[in-house]
Amino acid sequence: MSARAVWKGALKVGPSAIPVKLYAAVEDRKVRFHVLQDRTHSRVKQHMVRDTGEEVARKSFRKGFEVEPGAFVILKDDELNRLKPEESRDIQATRFVPHSALRNEWYERPYYLGPDEDVSKYFALVDAIQKTNKVGIVRWSMRGKAYIGALTTDDHYLLLIKLRYADEVEPARTLSAPEGTRLEPKELGMAKELVTALDGKFEPDVFHDNYRERVLTFVEAKSKGKHPRLPIVKNRATGGSLDVQLSRSLAAIKHNGEKKLA
């Protein structure tokens, strides 16, 4: 089985260019619904209308930015096109930084880069990135949009992760933590014990999208004319002071002699 490349380009690191293909590393598996008319169960259509409900034809649409309530600055297509980046096939490495310089809130969407023709150069770069233990910052533009990404490796292949823009990430760093009375050493001790008791490894394959699976099973049953019973949503009750909750939790763990609390 093989996937189709999304895009082709040349990865430029220093004086060297490596021909690469870009592949999506993730696929969205969300259950998708259509909007139907309730009586006929037929698909509905969408159009753009004025406040009066009157339809407007696509060719007379204009795009505007609301500068004041009800007032728009019109942006014409050619004005918007002029702001777009120049066409290019280059993925340019602008710098390399230690992994600690790029926190996880920057990451948005991963792609694999695969070799295109020059296989040996490709794997030489993989080795060099792993040996130097750095992450590259790269820029490229694809289909009229400019992107910034992180160049790293995964399992001996190049990984390109599309990054968020600085103005999406930086403001959250100015927040300060909630303040309050000092935490009791006893509570901190118990909380640490609790976290340690629940210590484990990140095993992504043990987590399943059970909800997605239940929705799909439910839909399948319904399509066969069945009406599966559904549980009633109930809220759980909790109580007691923080102190009591912590010691009860620890007691429960010790009692069960296992790490998982149901």
């Binding site: 993730v26 969205d28 019109i74 289909r143 992180a150 823009y165 309050g180 976290v195 210590d199 839909v219």
Partner: protein, 277 residues
């Protein structure tokens, strides 16, 4: 992707939390509000008619051409071409019992164990309902032990795998992709790794070292397209060029508030925020 620019923001910044619920670890429960950590850098444009009148998207029946109210529509899952099973909001809600309001942290993992492939969207959690103490306790403990809590939970009709992390006393929720959403190099059919020549590895290593800096250059990480658009809008607005005013009253404009202000307030000592429904 381009199309999304033209739509109105799906999440107008009204200052209300995106989700409210309870983080539990052991029997400790922490009511929290969840806000998106990153705002959208894009400039959202409005679709207008020829005279600059704001337009809205409307559903209509393909058969009769008649406009449809949202109460006349229903969600349908396509089981085979042109055949649908309808599903109500209530059914979807009931398919997700217990999980709807809880993030139950059953396992804590070393923070660096989670591969970057998994990170999807980041959120900031703020304490709700006087949960400040338990909130701070969890944050401080996770930071001290360098652990992230992992759980699944349901938000707005979808199940999420989530990592709860603490950074400088603030709890963050990072939604993670599920394992079956990640492709492997062999799924894609990438060629087997080859042993490269030592000289070309050295050549690239030298190039990397030459390009190495301690920090990011935030200047190069801006959305130049959005910045260009903002400048253009401002220029035209000042010169009063291509500015149209719609005669029709604007549809109840959602009050736009600064997300960061809301977060500062909800992390601060006084919290007057309403919880999301």
């Amino acid at each position: 992707m381009g199309k999304r620019n033209l739509r109105r923001k799906s999440q107008p910044e009204t200052g209300r939390p995106f989700w409210s619920g309870t983080i539990t670890f052991g029997l400790v429960s922490i009511p929290v509000n969840l806000f998106p950590a990153s705002r959208d850098s894009r400039v959202s444009l409005r679709m207008l008619g020829p005279d600059g009148e704001p337009l809205k998207r409307d559903y209509y029946s393909a058969e009769t051409g008649k406009e449809l109210e949202s109460s006349e529509t229903v969600r349908g899952f396509e089981t085979s071409r042109g055949k649908y099973v309808t599903v109500t909001e209530e059914e979807l809600e009931r398919l997700a019992p217990d999980k709807s309001r809880d993030i139950n942290l059953r396992v804590f993992v070393p923070s660096n164990d989670i591969s970057r492939l998994y990170f999807n969207k980041g959120y900031i959690l703020t304490p709700a309902d006087k949960s400040g103490k338990a909130y701070r306790l969890l944050a401080e403990t996770m930071e001290a032990t360098d652990r992230a809590g992992v759980a699944t939970f349901v938000m707005h009709g979808k199940e999420y795998l989530v990592a709860i992390l603490a950074i400088s006393g603030i709890l963050r929720a990072e939604t993670l992709r599920f394992h079956d959403e990640i492709r492997t190099p062999s799924d894609i059919g990438l060629p087997r790794p080859q042993k490269p020549s030592a000289s070309s590895v050295e050549m690239f290593s030298r190039a990397i070292r030459r390009l190495t800096k301690k920090e990011l250059d935030l200047e190069e990480m801006h959305d130049k397209y959005a910045e260009g658009m903002r400048e253009l809008i401002e220029r035209k607005h000042k010169k009063h060029q291509d500015v149209v005013e719609s005669a029709a009253p604007p549809e109840s404009p959602a009050k736009v508030v600064d997300l960061m202000e809301v977060l500062k307030q909800s992390l601060g000592p006084e919290r007057k925020l309403k919880r999301a429904g």
